[in-house]
């Protein structure tokens, strides 16, 4: 009997480039945010108060956004008896990924879509719409659920919420800076200096908001690539996910996922005008273009086949 002389080979290589880009983006975000916090501290007590209020809002958001999203979108938790196939897919992937089982939900909506919610692995929820359950084959659905579970593994809700915190703070200052004017200036006797301080902090906040917005979109796209990759690694079937993406692209331009909804949930708290956001959304999409995702999956498949 011939024993294998074949050399063990990692099925998938590492994607150092993606990780480097992600770290660079985060580094730039930290730099931009540091400037903002520096300015806030420089303008004094008022700025710090704004920071504290925003932190409280952040905590509130982290603990309630998934419940609010579930409540407003008509997402229902389903039992294994109701959706045996979906539960079976998620359970096997959880064994494979060594994850505790998240709550499994279905949204009764014909639009094919899936997303993950929750700030930690223990409190995670994965959700699929009725549309996607009907449209995809089991292997394709497995690819999509593995993509969502990778978001859970990578704690993407937490990462994106924290990463966008100061951007939210900046937009808060831009929109309500004049209301905080009294605070910024230190009270009653408005003088030229105080008004300048308000003007400077609003200008800096606007700049921070603009720059961080572009960076956040980039970060979100990188995390989508990472989730595609994680799905391929988890299932060992990159082409099944590619096939799912192709099917979905027929009915929609991209799979809206959790982070879009998180932004929407956030706007409920931060009262960011939805109009400004959605017009920018077209310019700076939070999901990478389909062709790029397909190309990345194709590369993974050729790595797997050993032809890369």
């Amino acid at each position: 009997m011939s024993t294998s002389t074949r050399k063990p080979r990692a099925a998938f290589g590492k994607d150092a480039g993606l990780q480097a880009r992600m770290l660079l983006t985060m580094f730039l975000l930290v730099v931009v945010y540091a400037v903002l916090v520096g300015v806030l501290i420089a303008v004094g007590v008022g700025g710090v108060t704004v920071l504290v209020i925003a932190l409280a809002l952040l905590a509130l958001q982290l603990f309630t956004s998934d419940k609010i999203a579930m409540g407003t979108m008509g997402v229902k938790e389903v039992s294994p008896a109701e959706e045996p196939e979906l539960h079976g897919i998620v359970e096997r992937l959880c064994v494979q990924a060594d994850l505790p089982k998240p709550r499994v939900c279905v949204m009764e909506h014909p639009m094919p879509n899936a997303f993950a919610m929750g700030r930690s692995q223990k409190s995670a929820t994965v959700c699929a719409t009725r549309g996607i359950l009907q449209m995809l084959s089991p292997a394709e659905l497995e690819g999509v659920m593995a993509h969502e579970l990778t978001h859970v593994i990578n704690r993407d809700v937490m990462v994106m919420t924290l990463a966008s915190f100061f951007a939210m703070l900046a937009s808060l200052i831009v929109q309500f800076g004049f209301l905080f004017g009294g605070g910024f200036g230190g009270g009653y006797g408005r003088n030229r200096e105080a008004e300048e301080a308000i003007f400077v902090s609003i200008a800096v906040a606007a700049l921070v908001y603009a720059v961080s917005f572009v960076l956040l979109r980039a970060l979100s796209r990188y995390r989508e690539f990472a989730a595609d990759r994680g799905s391929a690694v988890l299932t060992g079937r990159p082409s099944a996910l590619a096939s799912a993406l192709l099917k979905l692209s027929g009915t929609m331009e991209r799979i809206p996922s959790r982070d879009l909804r998180t932004v929407e949930g956030m706007s409920a708290f931060f009262i960011v005008p939805a109009r400004a956001k959605s017009s920018l959304m077209n310019l700076f999409a939070d999901h990478p273009p389909l062709e790029q995702r397909l190309a990345a999956l194709e590369h993974l498949e050729s790595q797997l086949q050993g032809t890369a």
Binding site: A11, A226, A227, G236
Partner: protein, 211 residues
Amino acid sequence: VGLLDALTGRHQVKGPAPDRVFAITTAYITLQSEYQIEPTGAAAIVFQALATSEFQATIKEMEEVVRATGSESGTQVATQDDSYGYRWMVMRNPPGTPSVEDLAVAVNAVSSSIETAGHGERLLCAVFAFADRRAGGGPAGTSSSSSAVYFIYNYKRGSWYPFVPAPGSGSGGQSGERSTERELQLKAQLGSELPMEPELERWFPLWGIPI
């Protein structure tokens, strides 16, 4: 997942934990002698079959290895895919001579050749089938002859857990009720002999087990 891994979204699928498959070869003696739970002479190993020529070659070699090691004991091997796309390699003892040791050796031969080929992270679990012959094991009306009891080994965690489908349900491959009470009794009965999965939420059911 470390902090840097979480920040960069880098995620590797975990390889198998230190192998504790052979724990079943001592635990089953207690099952048999004290609780009248008999091995049925069948076991299976479940994994993701990669659609690559290299992995197919590995599977072929592995079947040959299992046949070779099983030729003296007469262990039969058969493969089938389930509806979720996972490959089941089913090992059966010759009729009338169930041997958990032979099955564990065969399961171990499969898992180690998958690991040797560098695909250890594709292993999902191993399943050993038993039959509960206690009279009155099920509710009145069901055949009291025997009911199925499975012990599932999770490769990622290196731990075991019992899986008992409630009598008369879930046999057709679709999910049904599981007898959680019986599973917890088994945990208490075997806890000192099998490395049991401590987190109950990781006791994932497997419906439609073909053994």
